[in-house]
């Protein structure tokens, strides 16, 4: 069977590339780690791939603002390729620093196919601290997001960030994200209710943990599904009965399945 190809984008300071590679490989994809400079110099192009992953990390050390310097680089060196990637119907996934890059580049929320305007941001956690903790997420059943299809239960995944507070430009932006069903995942407590800190670990508006574009093919989130793909990733695996695969794996399986059915040539 043909394996979809994933481009895991590297840049100075990206460090969750390996986690993403493992998750995509487990989900049945063929994965390559490609440095942004290799794409900028046209040694390789995005054309070869069906899925583009912006992994987590500290691109350029989070200097100036998280994700900003890489977004700036992409904007001036790679934007055309990325826009073409989207218009070809392919998938883009950003996690943590990758999500920060996506919103700062304007790929999200991508209203009316405008992937160049920054309307939202991810800023410092209200706690003023970087925090590594597991959080519960509720998936919006009405969202068109490809990555969260058939995920009905609450998810439990780690967040590891200092700048994850989702903020919007204005009420109008928020209303539109909501009414378009572009909110994909939200922070909740173990019962599935909104519950404030530490369940919402950063103070995000409307408890938003991740959003997609209007097509559901471009998606970013702060928590790390790639760090819960096997049972022993789970913090309480020694005291609970769990399936062998972690629930984060579904994000990657969904992407790979979609790419196989809809993007790969028959």
């Amino acid at each position: 069977m043909n394996k979809p190809k994933v481009c895991v984008l590297l840049a100075a300071g990206i460090n969750r590339d390996y986690d993403a590679v493992c998750a995509f490989e487990r989900a049945g994809a063929q994965v390559e780690r490609v440095h942004v400079n290799t794409l900028a110099s046209c040694e390789k192009t995005l054309k070869e791939y069906q899925i583009l992953m912006f992994p987590g990390g500290f691109s350029f050390g989070d200097d100036i603002a998280s994700g900003k310097v890489l977004a700036n680089k992409l904007k001036y060196k790679l934007l055309d390729q990325i826009l073409e990637f989207i218009s070809d119907g392919k998938l883009i996934f950003g996690v943590c620093n990758g999500f920060q890059v996506m919103v700062k580049l304007g790929l999200l929320p991508g209203f009316d196919g405008d992937y160049r305007s920054q309307l939202t941001t991810l800023t410092f956690n209200d706690s003023g601290k970087f925090e590594d903790r597991w959080v519960y997420l509720r998936v919006n059943p009405n969202s068109d997001c490809i990555f969260t299809r058939e995920i009905d239960d609450l998810l439990y995944v780690p967040v590891c960030h200092g700048e994850g507070k989702f903020v919007v430009k204005n009420e109008e932006t928020l209303n539109r994200i909501c009414s378009n069903q572009q909110i994909v995942v939200q922070y909740v407590d173990a019962e599935g209710s909104f519950a404030g800190y530490p369940f919402n670990p950063n103070g995000s508006v409307n408890n938003i943990a991740g959003i997609c574009d209007e097509t559901g093919r471009v998606f970013g989130m702060m928590p790390h599904p790639e760090d819960f793909v096997r049972r022993t990733h789970y913090p309480r695996w020694t005291r609970e009965d769990l399936p062998e695969s972690g629930s984060g794996l579904k994000f990657f399986i969904n992407a790979v399945e979609y790419a196989r059915k809809n993007i790969l040539p028959d």
Binding site: R16, R26, I64, P235
Partner: protein, 1004 residues
């Protein structure tokens, strides 16, 4: 617009280069999280009342940009359009009582400034010229009744470290009236020509020592004399003449010898010949290292040892295809002076040890252990120039966060010890583990090989004056007047991309050998690598520098961070350079390895150093020292047993060393790389203290790596022999508790001591050395007895502080770090109780060993009955317990250490969210002990284990032949009950109250 701010552009008088100032702040209504946390620290730590703190970031851009472009930089790059506003032609500072501006001093690494340059280059499609750059600083706008004195305290006590940063305090009027002087942010480009000085050593002894001391060479008289006689040898002088050198050493040569012969690099004390006296018995010990540490490893003799003691880190086998690499370093003095920069440099520095071992490992975990003064130490008792322990704690924590998180290495294990003895001289231990394939393209990865003709390539950061004399500085005690050039700021992202590039080059076989530039800089790295082939020639002027004006000796010994030195074959150099270019990593050919038996260093074609390899590496003679030991007697406890032991249990739970460190742990990323199996915090709501961490670095294999540590300076106050044995046991039993195979555990030693060399200024040097002798003897006993070899280590002496005429030494402190292997990570066990009705066991014999315990500590006593170790019984028990764990017979396992059995049981209980009932009369004990002795003795080699009732028989069969007993049950409710020997309740508590006591101390 008021005067002074008509335009925030300013022309440099000499070069007419514009300097722009861009200020970025938050929009009204947006939370300024940094400002809020600064306010919290001002109010809570400094106890100064302020109403609000707002922050503004300042980018001072020295570059030929016009206004249109600066506006684009400000709005498109530096400002977040959603949350921030900015100004490039005015100031955002308004409505404040005091403004404090803080930024790095010129020449100090400004990571954000450097990144900003790259961002501007991308945005405007330009390249910055050599004299163009960006400096960053931050304004803190403070509102409230803040006087000049308060503002100064806020600046020096919290916001700025005067060693690396400047600060400026202004009120609103003076802020708007001030004259712009932006040139001060940038390094003056000196016109001075680099010089080489000859040093005349034909002087008397007193003068020789003056040269050593004033030059921070830290060489003793005998060593200085050795150097003097080398430069009198006619054969040497004849050879020198041929290369244009005279009969006096150059400063480059003297500096190299000082670095190479430093305590830091040569471990002179550990290798000394010691006259040792203990209770009237005299013996000669020829090298503590050879006699006890290395000997222990030889006697343990494990077939999985791959490379021990002779590389930057120790290497052991992991599974069929991979090896593990581990090293722990200390970075004490720099962290005392600049906690953030010191710790950051410490962590990224130790990263380079596994990276520079063999052909280089990829890094899979960090572990960090700190010793600080108590965070509530009274400010008025602090000597001048000593930073407050809380500030050191917070700064070090932040440095480790930035170093570990930004490098993408999970921080999976650690410990913090608080004691007043560390107020003046905190200890910062940073460790990093790595993994490498056993073979890379058919070559054994742990073997370094350098061929004559290989090019010497320096990779990574540029060289500046930072970190000069780090190696020799660590051999000097801290003083109130210490003015350190040794402090520097690490740049994790520069190192991260270097590591990524080097791993790619490694896997493509593009180099022959690699080592890091740490202490001693190029002089050490090139010097050491030359040993593999017999010499080198270096052209120092090729070395890339941060700024002009460095003398050749500075280039040769500078410890500027993020650099590795490699041996690259001529045939591979083009490919190698291409890989570096792709990753934006600087790489420079600076010379060539030779077989000449000479180290030959040139600067602009003139030889500035010409030394025999043999003299540099083997010219040092053995140190001769004296040690004498006498047991110290402390007051014996003479109180009667309290009827209710709950207050004592709570006191211990809340004590600084025992209490929850969740505040610290959560700020470290322990998930990155997706290998986590047992996390630092475990239990029903992820908040119980794990004994050790387990990671699974190979997703498709079953094996895991287990990491733990042992440290206990309190025991050392009584007897360092049993301290050493105890901390080895602690590290090992922590590993075993989560499931590590006791036959596959390696350990590292890290000794931090006061100055153990007897002299007029150091009258108890012989006692401190004797403490070291006993500690290494204890190491030998425990390591051999438990079957755990040392694979690498580090020693740091001179951990003392001079206040006026008093020298304050730290207590002897030995950190043991353990790295073990668990055959199957799915069998790992955590410390939290799992089910009601489970049986509670104690494994191991409890002794009357309250000496150095936390129980006595909470009563301000030390005691004398320090815990001993029965290594034979322990080894047997660990083997049996491991089998039981692998058979799935153990529900939870927690080691008994600080606070003893009582603490271990309480922690297991509240971490699992279920109560427990214990009966002390069932505890196997040595002789007849009181209830408090049973509960709180810190006897080694014990565990609290819970077992499902249906597995009772199998478990007991597996443990047969060891001392163990069932002492209670896990309850269905929240009650924690302990029944004393006479049948009465000695503890009756609620687990959530116990947990609260444990969590509140460091809940910042």
């Amino acid at each position: 617009m008021r005067e002074g701010h008509a335009k925030l552009m300013f022309f440099n008088q000499q070069t007419s280069q514009p300097i722009w100032r861009v200020e970025v702040g938050f929009k009204p209504g947006v939370v300024d999280a940094l400002g809020e946390s600064v306010k919290k620290s001002i109010v809570e730590d400094l106890r100064i009342d302020v109403d609000s703190v707002k922050t503004v970031d300042v980018y001072t851009i020295k570059a030929a940009l016009d206004e249109v472009r600066v506006k684009r930089v400000a709005t498109e790059l530096l400002t977040d359009p959603i949350t921030q506003i900015s100004s490039y032609d005015g100031t955002l500072a308004k409505d404040f009582s005091k403004v404090i501006e803080v930024g790095y001093k010129p020449g100090v690494t400004d990571n954000v400034g450097r990144t900003t340059v790259e961002g501007i280059e991308d945005l405007l499609n330009i390249k910055f010229k050599e004299d163009e750059s960006v400096h960053t600083s931050r304004l803190y706008l403070i509102n409230g009744q803040v006087g000049e004195g308060d503002a100064k305290r806020i600046s020096t006590g919290l916001l700025a470290n005067p060693i690396t940063e400047y600060y400026l305090i202004l009120d609103e009027r003076s802020w708007f009236a001030r004259k712009r002087d932006d040139e001060k942010y940038f390094m003056a480009t000196g016109e001075r020509e680099p010089i080489v000085t000859e040093v005349d050593l034909n002087v008397d002894n007193e003068e020789l020592m003056r040269i050593s001391t004033e030059g921070v060479l830290s060489l003793n008289l005998e060593e200085m004399q050795k150097i003097r006689s080398y430069f009198k040898d006619p054969k040497i002088l004849e050879e020198r003449k041929r290369v244009g050198l005279g009969d006096k050493p150059t400063d480059v040569e003297l500096e190299m010898l000082a670095q190479t012969w430093s305590e830091h690099c040569k471990h002179k004390i550990f290798n000394a010949l010691i006259d040792y006296e203990e209770n009237g018995k005299k013996e000669k010990i020829d090298s503590l290292f050879n006699s006890y540490i290395k000997k222990a490893t030889e006697d343990v003799d494990k077939d999985w040892l791959v490379s021990v003691f002779d590389d930057n880190a120790g290497v052991i086998g992991f599974n069929e295809d991979y090896n593990l690499v581990f090293k722990v370093e200390t970075h004490n003095h720099p962290s005392a002076l600049d906690p953030y920069g010191g710790a950051l440099t410490g962590i990224v520095g130790v990263n380079r040890d596994p990276m520079g071992t063999g052909l280089g490992a990829n890094l899979i975990f960090n572990t960090d252990i700190f010793c600080f003064g108590p965070p509530d130490f009274p400010y008025e008792k602090l000597p001048q120039k000593v930073l407050h322990p809380k500030r050191i704690f917070k700064g070090v924590r932040k440095g480790v966060e930035h170093g570990g998180n930004k490098m993408g290495i999970p921080t999976i294990n650690g410990a913090i010890v608080f004691d007043e003895a560390y107020v003046y001289n905190p200890l910062v231990y940073c460790g990093t583990g790595g993994m490498m394939p056993k073979e890379i393209l058919g070559r054994e990865s742990h073997v370094k090989m350098v061929e004559p003709g290989d090019l010497i390539v320096m990779v990574g950061g540029k060289i500046g004056k930072d970190g000069i004399h780090g190696a020799t500085f660590s051999s000097v005690k801290l003083e109130e007047t210490t003015s350190p050039t040794a402090v520097q700021i690490g740049a994790p992202i520069v190192q991260k991309k270097m590591m990524d590039a080097l791993l790619e080059a490694r896997d493509r076989g593009l180099y022959n050998a690699i080592t890091d530039n740490g202490a001693g800089g190029l002089s050490s790295s090139v010097g050491e690598m030359s040993e593999f082939c017999g010499g080198c020639v270096v052209d120092l002027e090729k070395v890339p520098t941060k700024y002009p004006g460095l003398d050749p000796w500075e280039l040769w010994v500078s410890e500027s961070q993020e650099r590795m030195t490699l041996a690259v074959p001529l045939d591979d150099i083009d490919e190698f350079m291409k890989v570096c270019e792709k990753w934006d990593v600087e790489a420079t050919v600076i010379g060539e390895f030779r077989s000449s038996e000479k180290i030959d260093v040139k600067y602009e074609n003139k030889t500035v150093l010409y030394l025999n390899m043999d003299f540099v590496h083997r010219g040092l003679s053995q140190l001769k020292l004296r040690a004498s030991w006498k047991r110290r007697e402390f007051k014996s406890p003479d109180f009667s047993q309290p009827a209710d032991l709950l207050p004592d249990l709570k006191n211990i739970l809340s004590s600084l060393n025992v209490c929850s460190k969740e505040w610290v742990i959560r700020q470290y990323d322990h998930e990155v790389q997706g290998a986590s199996v047992v996390k630092p915090l475990v239990g029903k709501v992820n908040d119980g203290p794990s004994d050790a961490a387990v990671i699974k670095p190979l997703p498709d294999k079953g094996e895991g790596v287990v990491v733990s540590n042992g440290i206990n300076p309190k025991f050392g106050e009584i007897d360092t022999y049993w301290m050493a044995a105890s901390v080895i046991d602690e590290a090992v039993r922590n590993c075993v508790a989560v499931g590590a195979n006791p036959d596959h555990i390696a350990i590292l030693d890290n000794f931090c001591w006061g100055n153990p060399i007897l002299s007029e200024d150091n009258p108890d040097g012989d006692f401190k050395l004797a403490q070291l002798v006993r500690a290494t003897q204890g190491c030998y006993y425990a390591a051999v007895g438990l079957g755990v070899p040392f694979i690498s280590g580090k020693d740091s002496f001179h951990n003392e502080y001079q206040v006026e005429d008093k020298t304050i030494s730290i207590p002897p402190t030995l950190l043991i770090s353990a790295m073990g292997v668990i055959e199957d990570t799915k069998k790992a066990v955590t410390m939290d109780v799992k089910r009601k009705g489970n049986l509670v066991y104690i494994l191991g014999l409890t002794g009357n060993e309250l000496g150095g315990s936390h129980y006595l500590m909470t009563k301000n006593l030390v005691g004398n009955s320090v815990p001993k170790l029965n290594a034979e019984a322990a080894k047997k028990l660990y083997g049996s317990l491991h089998k039981a764990i692998m058979e799935g017979l153990v529900s939870s396992c927690h080691d008994c250490s600080e606070g003893g059995l009582g603490l271990a049981a309480a922690e297991s209980s509240f971490a699992g969210g279920l109560g427990m009932e214990l009966n002390l009369s069932n505890v196997p004990m040595e002789g007849s002990l009181r209830d408090d002795e049973i509960l709180f003795s810190e006897t080694n080699s014990r565990f609290i284990v819970t077992v499902l009732p249906e597995k009772k028989a199998d478990f007991e069969r597996m443990l047969k032949g060891n001392v163990f007993a069932q002492i209670g049950k896990v309850r269905a409710d929240d009650d924690f009950k302990v029944i004393g020997k006479d049948g009465k309740l000695v503890i009756d508590a609620n687990i959530y109250n116990l947990k609260e006591a444990w969590q509140r101390t460091l809940d910042w």
